[in-house]
């Protein structure tokens, strides 16, 4: 079975090819079967091979499909690598991916681009699986760029609206900044360590580089650049909220459950490298903390249901980065998994709400939907509970693990922990703000649930996973065993435990008082001077977009305007002129006269002999 893991990306890829080459000519049920079925098959393969892998007790498994090319010292193979980390990733990607595909068969059923949608989705899943299964940097990069491309295509899926195209471009350009950094990092690793194989790279890095050596710092910094781009962390987080322009299942699959966590995966995969560069590792933690706080505050002020979820995604990935930064590798991966469950659930439930209200996304135009949309309501309750990390939900276990690891990490760990706890409070407030505003209070729009079984079933399954996913033990011990701090379950005091259980509940309480019982008025808070300013500031995502506009875009545009007829343009223009002049000159030599051709042969000979004799 393990020899068949190549089927994992092959099924979605086949699905993509079928859908792409029939060009929308297939009837919808067939498209749905191919689109969702291919992912379902991939999940079955993933489940079976994971079972076999785990029961065999191996720590890793490598499958070389073929040597892509080997010439001289350079060799690159299509080969896959399976270990505990990969097992978690493939199960999440194919499992959650399948549920979202199933949901999409209902959600997108009225869309004219039905076939195109599934084609892109399948391609995305294939690329994502290649990314996590990759054994070498070339394949990893292929997957990395592949998911980026699909993300671009899917954000701009409704391309008739120019705003969506703009959002897609923004996502592409911003993540490209990170990608460039990552590509540089990969080149650096390759040239310095002389191999493309990731495991060998890590091994060689440990052998050749001292802890804290310049090369290790440079390489891990460059990789971190790629990770923050893909995972929408500070300072490259601005693309994710706009990426919500795509259809909601996209947001669930790509911008919540899988692609945006690729950065986390990358760091976890190369964690040995980060351990060689402790300063960069703590930078990871701080990036995570600051991002999670900023995004948490911002989420509190948004009123587009998907943007709230987007900011919450940024914030939760911040937690994962925090976990990575303090060396709690498995906790970060654990949170990645639980987050995939509950955030996909929330997005899909939000999708149902949006669909029921005919693509209304502002939460203040919703309200009192509890009775009308029971399935969505309960999904939201479960998802938000997990997001808030209420005790015994999946989010509780994973977030708890990260925060405790931060606390134990010593040094500035207490500070990191404190920030994480404050973040948790805000998480509780904003997520239940969403629940209370949308589902309680008076009803503005009476709505009816439009979902069929294919939309309900994924919600139920994801709901169960979001609730109980915390009890899953992820099999990554072998992967991180050499790296993880040997904390023998240093039992934190009861107070800490109590506090961490209490914080989310307090948050829910605050949220209740503000947004449900209206005991406290949020409006009043917002209207007060400081509150208004803060609100405005937070609402705009800490003014990051404006900042980038001011710092990068505007100067660039004005520079461009200044330079309309200037150096670079001139240079390029010169190049074009030069080329076409050279062309014109050369074309004139093709006179068609045989004697002229013979003369050119003779002249060539004489000149070459002269060159040869003189040199």
């Amino acid at each position: 079975m393990l020899d068949l893991i190549w089927l994992l990306p092959a099924f979605p890829l086949a699905g993509f090819l079928i859908l792409a080459f029939t060009g929308g000519g297939l009837p919808k049920p067939v498209v749905a079967t191919v689109g969702a079925g291919s992912i379902g098959l991939a999940f079955i393969v993933a489940a079976l091979s994971s079972y076999e892998f785990l029961s065999s007790g191996q720590t890793s498994f490598q499958l070389t499909l073929w040597e892509w090319m080997a010439a001289g010292d350079f060799s690159s193979a299509f080969s896959f690598y399976l270990d505990g980390l990969t097992v978690v990733m493939i199960l999440v990607i194919s499992g959650v991916g399948f549920l979202i595909h199933l949901y999409s068969t209902g959600y997108m059923s009225d869309d004219p681009g039905y076939s195109r949608f599934f084609a892109y989705m399948n391609l995305f899943v294939a690329a994502m699986l290649v990314l996590v299964l990759a054994d070498n940097l070339v394949l990893l990069y292929l997957g990395w760029e592949g998911v980026g491309l699909c993300s671009y295509l899917l954000i701009g899926f409704w391309y008739e609206n120019p705003a969506n195209g703009y959002a897609a471009r923004k996502a592409f350009v911003v993540t490209r900044v990170g990608d460039t950094s990552m590509a540089l990092g990969l080149f650096l690793l390759f040239t310095q360590l002389g191999t493309l194989n990731i495991q060998e790279l890590m091994h060689n890095a440990g052998q050749q580089w001292q802890v804290g050596s310049g090369m290790a710092v440079a390489a891990s910094l460059l990789l971190l650049g790629g990770a923050v781009g893909k995972s929408a962390q500070l300072p490259l987080q601005t693309w994710l909220p706009d990426a919500m322009a795509g259809p909601t299942p996209i947001s669930a699959l790509i911008h919540a459950a899988t692609m945006v966590t690729a950065g986390v995966y990358l760091i976890a995969r190369t964690h040995l490298l980060f351990e060689l560069a402790p300063t960069v590792q703590s930078l990871v933690a701080w990036v995570g903390l600051i991002t999670l706080l900023m995004a948490g505050f911002t989420a509190l002020t948004q009123h587009d249901i998907k943007r709230i979820l987007a900011y919450s995604t940024i914030s939760q990935i911040g937690y994962m980065f925090l976990g990575l930064g303090v060396g709690a590798w498995s906790a970060a991966v654990f949170h990645l998994m639980t987050h995939a469950f509950f955030k996909a659930l929330l997005f899909l439930a939000a999708g149902s709400v949006i669909l029921s209200l005919h693509h209304e996304q502002s939460i203040f135009k919703m309200g009192g939907l509890r009775k009308h949309l029971p399935v969505s309501f309960w999904s939201f309750i479960v998802g938000s509970a997990a997001l808030t990390a209420l005790p015994l939900t999946s989010g509780y276990f994973s977030k708890d693990e990260i925060l405790l690891a931060a606390l134990e990490s010593g040094g500035s760990g207490t500070l990191l922990w404190l920030g994480g706890v404050i973040g948790a409070l805000f998480t509780a407030i904003y997520s239940f703000r969403l629940v209370f505003v949308v589902f309680f209070g008076e009803c503005h729009h009476p709505a009816k649930e439009v979902s069929g079984w294919n939309m309900t079933a994924p919600l139920v399954v994801l709901g169960v996973l979001a609730l109980l996913g915390g009890w899953i033990h992820i099999p990554v011990d072998a992967v991180f065993s050499h790296g993880e701090m040997a904390h023998e379950e240093a039992h934190p005091s009861l107070f800490i435990h109590a506090l961490m259980i209490a914080i989310p509940i307090i948050g829910v309480g605050i949220s209740y008082l503000f947004f449900c019982s209206r005991t406290w008025s949020a409006e009043k808070l917002v209207q007060s001077g400081l509150g208004a300013a803060l609100h405005k500031f937070w609402f705009s995502g800490w003014g990051m977009d404006r900042l980038y506009q001011a710092v990068f875009v505007t100067p660039f545009v004005s520079l461009a305007r200044l330079n309309r007829k200037d150096i670079i343009d001139l240079l390029i223009g010169l190049l074009v002129t030069l080329t076409s002049q050279a062309n014109r000159l050369l074309v004139r030599t093709q006179t068609g006269y045989l004697r002229w051709y013979a003369a050119s042969v003779m002249a060539g000979v004489i000149i070459l002999i002269a060159i040869g004799a003189l040199l």
């Binding site: 050279a582 093709q590 051709y597 042969v601 002249a603 040869g612 004799a613």
Partner: protein, 488 residues
């Protein structure tokens, strides 16, 4: 020196002998009964038979047959490649000539004889056999180029193309011969290896003159700048299958011969020879790509692009200077195969819609091909993208290989030129693709695909499969090449 030919010597020569036998048989058949289908089939089957014998004699590889020919793995490998290419071209020629109102059977004779010449060329390690093979190939090509000269509303200008090729090719042959004569005068031997033994001990200037004359002549046959000017005219004027033959088999055989010569004679140990070849490479890459930019004739575009591609190959050839690595040989071998696949495919698409009565060789003729003949358009697009070196096609791997060889040899300047050239080339390749996507305007009457075209379409499909297969999974071919390139 033992020069008598024994039976053991004849065994490795079997592929050449089979092709010769088939040529004689075809000639006899023509005398008995003129039948296009019969002769065409005989040719194709005969080439197939020769292909099989080429595989069968593989165990006998590594044998010097008389002082003239060296049958080793490398020569047998290219024997197979050339036989395949010649067979494919025969398949393409059949429907193309089907409606020619003239006697078409002798065309196949010429094709077979040219193939004999090419086979001799890839096996020779002696100037005499090399020259004999080269002239056999060239003289047959003169006639192939001029073949449809009675055709009324004819393909272009076969007489003009043929005469131009004949005169210039004879000049270049004379240059090669004079170069050989000078080398012979100094070394007293016509063996390739002799130069390596005496090199350095004799006055350099003398050798350099001789070698430059030799490389100039070879450069002409490979259409390298500044000896490239005949290429577009001959490509355009010749009937498509002859163009195809000239572009693939003709170039490949010459390149293999050059490779053998350079490896055996260690001619690159003369620094100025490296400089001269470097100049030719730079000029070819730039001139080829620049000339193609605004060209409106597909055949001429492909002619110019072939100039550039041969320039890329020279980079790998120069990389052989560093004798420690075989990467240059491997790169050239792979690139030649890639180039043969791409050229056959690109010209093949033109051939299946053209006939000897009417050729569609202007880019305008292909406008809207995507809407009229989607599969052919897809095929041509794949071939053009591969020529441009887009990843996942064989062209990319070939170029990558060449770059790798260049990097090993630290030829940074030449690689820069390669990058610039490739950049320019994307423009004119994509221009054709773009034109194919436009709405069709003119209503060209492409040749109807009858039963006679089945083979052509099958070959095209095979070429596309090869293009993608070797682009995604080149390891297979690479390992073969690695093995065979050890033997030279």
């Amino acid at each position: 020196m033992e020069t008598a030919i024994t039976i053991q010597d004849l065994v490795p020569l079997l592929p050449v002998l089979v092709v010769t036998g088939v040529a004689v048989l075809a000639m006899l058949l023509i005398a008995l009964k003129r039948n296009h289908t019969l002769i065409g089939a005989t040719t194709i089957i005969g080439l197939g038979l020769a292909l099989i014998t080429a595989f069968l004699v593989l165990p006998f590889a590594g044998q010097q047959v008389t002082p003239l020919l060296m049958i080793d793995n490398f020569s047998l490998f290219f024997t197979i490649v050339i036989l395949l290419a010649a067979g494919f071209i025969a398949v393409f020629s059949f429907p193309y000539l089907y409606h020619l109102k003239d006697e078409v059977e002798e065309y196949y004779l010429l094709l077979l004889i040219a193939t004999i010449g090419a086979l001799i060329m890839v096996s020779s390690n002696h100037f005499l056999s090399a020259f004999l093979g080269l002239e056999t190939l060239s003289i047959s090509l003169y006639a192939m180029i001029a073949y449809p000269l009675h055709s009324k509303e004819a393909v272009k200008f076969p007489v003009e193309a043929s005469l131009k090729y004949l005169v210039l090719s004879a000049v270049s042959s004379a240059l090669i011969l004079f170069g050989i004569a000078l080398l012979y005068a100094q070394t007293g031997s016509l063996q390739f290896t002799e130069l390596a033994m005496t090199g350095g001990s004799v006055a350099d200037g003398y050798f350099i003159t001789a070698l430059v004359l030799l490389f100039a002549g070879v450069g002409f046959k490979l259409s390298l700048a500044p000896f490239h000017m005949w290429t577009p005219d001959v490509y355009e004027g010749a009937p498509l299958p002859a163009t195809m033959y000239l572009a693939t088999v003709g170039k490949a055989a010459m390149m293999v011969l050059l490779l053998r010569f350079v490896v055996a004679s260690q001619a690159l140990s003369f620094h100025s020879v490296v400089v001269v070849i470097g100049c030719m490479a730079v000029l070819s890459i730039l001139a080829g790509n620049l000339l193609a930019l605004v060209q409106e004739n597909l055949k001429r575009i492909l002619a110019y692009s072939s100039i550039a591609h041969m320039g890329y190959l020279l980079i790998a050839l120069i990389a052989l200077d560093d004798a420690s690595t075989r990467l240059g040989v491997e790169a050239i071998s792979f690139y030649l195969i890639a180039y043969i696949v791409m050229s056959l495919g690109a010209f093949g698409v033109a051939t299946v819609i053209s006939s000897s009565e009417k050729e569609f060789d202007f880019v305008a003729d292909y406008q809207g091909l995507f809407w009229r003949e989607p599969w052919l358009a897809l095929l041509l697009t794949a071939m053009l993208l591969s020529l441009a070196g887009i990843p996942l096609t064989v062209g990319f791997i070939g170029k990558f290989y060449v770059v790798l060889a260049g990097v090993e040899g630290s030829l940074w300047g030449l690689l820069l030129v390669l990058v610039v050239g490739s950049g320019i080339s994307i423009y004119y390749y994509l221009r054709i693709v773009y034109r194919m996507l436009l709405q069709p305007q003119l209503d060209q009457a492409y040749r109807e695909a009858g039963w006679d075209s089945i083979g052509s379409y099958a070959v095209l499909a095979l070429l596309l499969a090869l293009l993608l297969l070797l682009g995604v999974y080149p390891g297979f071919l690479m390992s073969i090449i690695e093995v065979v390139s050890v033997s030279i």
